[in-house]
């Protein structure tokens, strides 16, 4: 487990533990906890930070909180009874005195929930270890604080004078707040308008002056989400274990809060939030909510703990994996957080409201920087999301938060201080975190949430898959890509779950998704936040538009449909615009790679014509650029233009590099339009010839292999000529006997009658027996461009010949003879040396360069001393050799050739 915690969280562990042990009555629960646990504590800690700093003031008196601590235990006990009584009590407390301690106490039961909730989290990682769970239960008096203090920020950020318990109380509320805000998300997600309400009510709070009361009211308000949140966890893990008793309990808890809030005088704003929160929640998961609800609300503290333990037990298996998932993400959220802090405006009512809005988006994975103006959009569209998604969001945020807590810089403190002087401290409670998240969580949250969403589908996502997801997402350059990538990942996982390969598939070796390129990336991603806001808003709108939804449906259907083969119609219908096209391709490619056995069938069934583009470009000249995305028809030339382009290249006076570039682009255009006809063959033949003449063997090989395929499909071309080239190439340059055998075997009788092929076969015979004389004879009479391929072998052949001659000839051989048989002279063997002088000189130079010993005999003729030469013969390093092995890549050479 510890290994899963990313470095960032691991680094933060130390301070955590310290603080905890300081303020903690019982530090014991911590040691056993893995770093994963710390992640949790840091989670809530982040939320705390903001709270503490500002809350310090409202709760100046420690007394305030001390009772609360006591009560918190008692409160739990009270809860054991009927919830109605509990409600009464709490409501009493609130009505009694808005500024007194009582409201606090009244809120305690709720406050306690958070505590427990925290506990729950903490013991949660321990779940695998029963004894550790037990521990938590035993030290339960301290347990109330334990989680609280574990918000290490209490030590670091709060006024040093403030006592720990006091802080603890602050913490208590804080997580509540934080989570409550997350809860709002749910609202926004589940029922469009509810989020709105809450945001407004929220604002109301902040505008009120009385700190204590506000905090008190806020606490009950928060408690509901808290409980819910608490419940949610088991829900995730125990989705399949519905509990019959759940309904009453759930009912209790919700009514509780409502009751509490109403008397408090903030009836309107405060009471508002819980219902929206609760109702959707209940509707979402009525049955499963139950067990956790019971724990906090109904039974006493001890029971609660045991309950927890049970929960843990039941959740163990899946729980562990969940936590793994979260940790990594948390780590990634870190850097983001740090940045956020720097400009996170704190404690503004406006901010609050603003944050309230974006929270949804942030979890939504789509639009993070959105402000109010975005909200309607969000609400409109978000409702479409499955409730499961929204539920899952909740854990997201607490986990994102930890980064925040760790990182909070001094400057923040200052900010807070300033705020404190002017504002009711509590105001900013959740703001900084939320704001930070809302505005900045950005890509990581996206990733994060996507994973969680995936997780909801299947609780045990293997580590390798998660890494795979991260790998894919890390490749994305911007959020839009990430969003698209996320969606694809989702579908991949959905599919993997559907066919049960999620655990068996080797995700580590899974090919990464091609980088999506969204059409909408045109939208500037400038650093201006406004632009971003608009951009994301539009992105979100687009992502949730009915059209997109339909598309998404298409896609998911396609994955489900991997077995049946009616791919065609849907693909072509999905082919409406470029973006859909792109998605299709990606889906197809991933689909293909996924199902290898089915792959061939899928390929057969696929209607490639529907995916083939028709070029519209009329430019004859076009440079080659390797495609990195789906081809754009506007820059692809249609066939008739390509014909002109080929003619242009053929008649061009420019050098090979220019022609090669042009031909490659022609080839590319042919390929993307899937044109395979005489023109294609002609283009490849032209290119192959040019490449041969330039000695560009790699390019020639590409063309040759394409030609082989095209000829095999029955397209007319210079088949014999290229058969000869192929033979020469294989025998001279590959030195692979099996390839040569198959090339020889594939020659037809007619082919063997062709002059060029005959020549190639003769060359083969000459090379096989080492007959250099024959080789150079053939070299001189080579038809077509056979000599070009032989050119590349000449040096080797000459050296072999010299080696052979130096061993077999004695005592001397005239240079002229050697020059003649080794092809230095341009004349035939029987012809005399018409223009042999320069050939002779060249031969002499070559012989000297290879260590041949020359001497002049009595008649003044230059002779080779064979015996001496046999010892001194060597193969010099090629003059134009370059370190990287390709002389054509040398800059000087390139410049020389292009100029």
């Amino acid at each position: 487990m510890a290994s899963h915690a990313a470095g960032a969280s691991a680094g933060s562990d130390a301070p955590h533990a310290e603080v905890v042990s300081m303020g903690q009555t019982n530090p014991s629960p911590y040691p056993p906890l893995a770093s994963s646990h710390q992640a949790w504590s840091s989670v809530s800690g982040s939320a705390t930070v903001s709270w503490n700093n500002q809350v310090d003031k409202p709760s100046q008196d420690t007394v305030y909180y001390d009772p609360q601590r006591d009560v918190s235990v008692a409160g739990g006990n009270q809860n054991v009874g009927v919830s109605a009584s509990h409600a009464a009590q709490s409501s009493m407390g609130i009505t009694d005195a808005s500024h007194s301690q009582l409201p606090y106490s009244s809120s305690v039961p709720h406050g306690y929930n958070p505590v427990e909730y925290a506990n729950y989290y903490y013991s949660y990682p321990q779940a695998t270890n029963d004894s550790s769970v037990q521990q938590g239960a035993n030290q339960h008096p301290g347990a109330a604080y334990q989680p609280l203090t574990s918000f290490q920020n209490s030590g670091s950020y709060i006024d040093p004078t403030s006592n720990t318990y006091y802080n603890a109380a602050g913490h208590q509320t804080v997580p509540g707040y934080g989570s409550s805000s997350y809860y709002y998300q749910n609202n926004t997600w589940n029922g469009g308008s509810s989020g709105n309400n809450y945001a407004q009510s929220y604002q109301n709070y902040s505008s009120s002056d009385t700190n204590a009361l506000q905090s008190s009211t806020s606490m009950p308000a928060n408690s509901v989400p808290y409980q819910q949140q608490y419940n949610q966890w088991p829900y995730y893990y125990d989705q399949s274990v519905p509990n019959a008793s759940s309904n009453p309990v759930a009912g209790n808890s919700t009514t509780d809060t409502v009751a509490v809030n109403n008397p408090s005088g903030y009836s309107y704003p405060n009471s508002q939030p819980p219902p929206p929160g609760t109702t959707p929640w209940r509707s979402n998961s009525v049955a499963s909510v139950a067990p956790p609800m019971q724990a906090p609300g109904v039974s006493g503290p001890q029971n609660q703990y045991t309950n927890q333990a049970q929960d843990h037990n039941s959740n163990q298996a899946t729980g562990v994996q969940w936590s793994q998932n979260h940790y990594t993400y948390q780590a990634q959220a870190y850097p983001q957080k740090t940045m956020n802090l720097s400009h996170a405006p704190l404690s503004n009512p406006e901010d609050q409201q603003r944050t309230a809005a974006p929270i949804g988006p942030s979890s939504n994975t789509l639009s993070n920087h959105v402000s109010e103006n975005f909200q309607p959009n969000l609400q409109g569209s978000m409702t479409t999301n499955a409730s499961s998604e929204s539920k899952i969001q909740i854990p997201t945020n607490p986990r994102i938060a930890p980064g925040f807590s760790m990182v909070i810089p001094k400057s923040e403190k200052k900010n807070l201080g300033a705020d404190l002087s002017k504002k009711p401290a509590y105001v900013s409670v959740s703001v900084p975190t939320n704001d930070a998240q809302g505005t900045q969580v950005g890509p990581d949250a996206v990733m994060f949430c996507s994973l969680l969403r995936l997780g909801n589908i299947h609780r045990s996502i293997p580590f390798s898959l998660r890494n795979y997801t991260i790998r894919n997402l890390n490749r994305c350059k911007d959020d839009a890509q990430r969003t698209a990538c996320t969606r694809i990942m989702e579908e991949i996982v959905r599919k993997a779950i559907a066919d049960g390969t999620i655990l068996t598939k080797n995700w580590d070796t899974e090919p990464l998704l091609p980088l999506p390129e969204l059409g909408m990336t045109e939208a500037s991603d400038s650093d201006k936040e406004q632009d971003l806001t608009k951009y994301y808003a539009s992105a979100t709108a687009l992502a949730n538009s009915p059209e997109e939804k339909k598309r998404r449906e298409h896609r998911s259907k396609r994955f489900e449909r991997s077995q049946d083969s009616s791919l065609k119609s849907r693909i072509s219908s999905a082919n409406k615009d470029a973006m859909a096209n792109m998605h299709t391709r990606r889906a197809i490619s991933s689909h293909l790679s996924r199902t290898y056995e089915e792959g061939t069938r899928a390929v057969e069934d696929m209607d490639w014509d529907a995916l083939t583009i028709k070029g519209t470009c009329q430019e004859i000249e076009k440079g080659y650029l390797r495609l990195t995305s789906a081809p754009d028809p506007s820059v692809v030339r249609p066939e008739d233009v390509l014909e002109k382009a080929l003619a242009m290249v053929e008649t061009s006076q420019k050098n090979y590099f220019y022609k090669c570039d042009q031909l490659k682009s022609i080839r590319q255009d042919l390929t993307v339009q899937r044109i395979q006809n005489g023109l294609t063959v002609k283009v490849y033949e032209t290119h192959a010839r040019l490449a041969m003449q330039a000695g560009d063997l790699p390019e020639y090989n590409q063309c040759q292999s394409q030609l082989k395929r095209l000829y095999a499909e029955g397209i007319e071309g210079c088949y014999f000529e290229f058969s000869a080239y192929n033979l020469l190439c294989v025998m001279l340059h590959y030195n692979n006997k099996r390839d040569l055998l198959s090339s020889l075997a594939s020659l037809s009788k007619e082919a063997k009658q062709d002059a060029a092929v005959k020549h190639a076969l003769a060359v083969h015979a000459a090379v096989l027996s080492g007959n250099y004389v024959l080789f150079f004879k053939l070299y001189k009479k080579a038809p077509n461009l056979n000599s070009c391929l032989m050119d590349l072998y000449v040096e080797r052949m000459r050296f072999e010949a010299m080696k052979c001659m130096s061993k077999s000839y004695r005592p001397t051989v005239p240079v002229e003879y050697v020059a003649q048989i080794l092809g230095f002279l341009r004349t035939d063997s029987e012809g005399c040396t018409a223009d042999g002088d320069d050939g002779l000189e060249e031969c002499e130079k070559w012989l000297k360069a290879h260590g041949v010993v020359l001497s002049v005999d009595s008649s003044g003729e230059l002779q080779i001393d064979m015996k001496a030469s046999s010892a001194t013969l060597y193969m010099p390093e090629p003059e134009n050799a370059v370190a990287h092995g390709d002389a054509t890549l040398a800059v000087d050479d390139f410049l020389a050739r292009t100029s």
Binding site: T600, L774, R810, P811
Partner: protein
């Protein structure tokens, strides 16, 4: 077409077959199991296949009766059924599923009692894949079943090539893989299997069954022929020849088909009776040309059997015999010259050689012949030197034509 079969009878037959399979497994009777699961050897119509045709609901029957072995039995029955209907592609697909299930079971059995059955599976899957590919090729589809069979057999190999008693069966699967790879022309895939067999320290090669060893040596020997590693090829093919069952003439012939060219290239000529006995007369002219130094005959022989030699992959080996033929020719000239004028026996005029080649209707000019003489000296087929000025080949007084003695040219 089979006579009408009552449902009850069909049901009984299928049930009987299923229980025989299950009994064979439960009693660890590998031989019985092997005979039951061989699909491709069955004729078109058997009592069982008739029953399957008459009782189309057989998958459910098998699944209900033996749910724990349904993964094996259901596709096995499907395969038998498809095979009897000549739908080989379907038969292969089903059989591969059954084979996968069987392999899964096989892994869990600690003793190698089912080795015989495993080998039958390995053989069957290859044979079915070949049939399926033929069927696919005739219907214009992509014949990829043999390739699939290859990858399945790699899995089987992985299950067998482990420490322990199962390893003894690994060589059989290796040989099946060789057969597939040679047929597909993807012999480079053999390398990993060979490495796994030859580098194993915990299992002596000699402990494998003889028949597998012979097959293995035959194929690895052929691979060495491709690589022109004639010495190693000779060694392996000779091993195969020596250990091969002397009764199975066709196998001996197969081995000789590659061993003879290898032996020729290292200077060992077979007796004509051997060629006649094993019907390898395509080599007869080659051997004669080597004996006579008749280059024309060699070229004719190569030309005549070109397709055959190219297909088996010995063409290039035989082509290389040319230098030995030249050597023989020069040697003959030397012998004649020694008889005519012993004083100048060691000096052979180039003109003489050119004339001799002219008689053989080989069109070569003086320079080329000179080049060939140089090559013969260079390749150590002739001891001596060539004097360019006087165009004379001067032979060494001692052993001017060294024998190859098992060394390749």
């Amino acid at each position: 077409m089979a006579a009408y079969l009552s449902m009850g009878e069909a049901h009984r037959r299928i049930g009987d077959y299923l229980s025989r399979v299950v009994n064979a497994i439960s009693s660890s009777d590998g031989a019985a199991l092997a005979s039951l699961i061989s699909v491709s050897s069955a004729p078109g119509s058997t009592p069982l296949s008739d029953a399957l045709a008459a009782f189309p609901d057989f998958p459910r029957l098998a699944g209900d009766r033996f749910p724990h072995l349904a993964d094996l039995l259901v596709p096995l029955l499907r395969s038998i059924h498809s095979h009897s209907l000549q739908r080989f592609s379907d038969a292969y697909s089903s059989f591969e599923k059954a084979a996968s299930a069987f392999l899964q079971e096989f892994r869990n059995w600690e003793t190698p009692w089912a080795m015989e059955a495993m080998h039958t599976v390995a053989l069957e899957i290859r044979l079915l894949a070949e049939k399926a590919d033929r069927e696919l090729a005739t219907t214009g589809k992509n014949p990829d079943k043999l390739q699939a069979a290859g990858s399945f057999l790699m899995k089987v190999f992985g299950a067998l090539a482990v420490k322990g008693p199962k390893r003894i069966g690994a060589l059989y699967v290796t040989c099946q893989l060789f057969k597939i790879y040679f047929r597909l022309g993807t012999v480079n895939l053999c390398r990993s299997v060979i490495r796994s067999i030859e580098t194993a320290r915990n299992f002596d090669f000699e402990d494998f069954p003889v028949k597998d060893k012979v097959t293995y040596m035959y194929y690895t020997g052929r691979l060495e022929v491709f690589n022109e590693n004639f010495l190693v090829a000779d060694q392996k093919l000779t091993y195969a020849l020596m250990h091969c069952n002397p009764q199975s003439e066709s196998n001996l012939r197969r081995i000789l088909k590659f061993l003879i060219p290898v032996k020729l290239s290292i200077g060992v000529l077979p007796k004509r009776t051997l060629l006649e006995r094993y019907n390898l007369l395509e080599y007869a002219d080659v051997v004669t040309s080597l004996k006579r130094g008749d280059l024309r005959l060699l070229r004719q022989a190569l030309d005549r059997h070109e397709d055959q030699f190219l297909k088996s992959g010995v063409y290039l080996v035989l082509e290389k015999l040319e230098l030995q033929v030249y050597q023989r020719l020069v040697k003959k000239i030397h012998i004649i010259q020694r008889q005519k004028e012993p004083a100048k026996a060691h000096q052979i005029k180039l003109d003489v050689v050119v004339k001799a080649l002219k008689w053989l209707e080989i069109d070569m000019d003086v320079d080329e012949v000179e080049c060939i003489m140089a090559c013969l000296i260079y390749k150590n087929l002739i001891k001596g030197y060539f004097a360019h000025k006087s165009k004379v080949l001067v032979l060494s007084k001692q052993d001017p034509f060294p024998k190859l003695n098992g060394k390749p040219v």
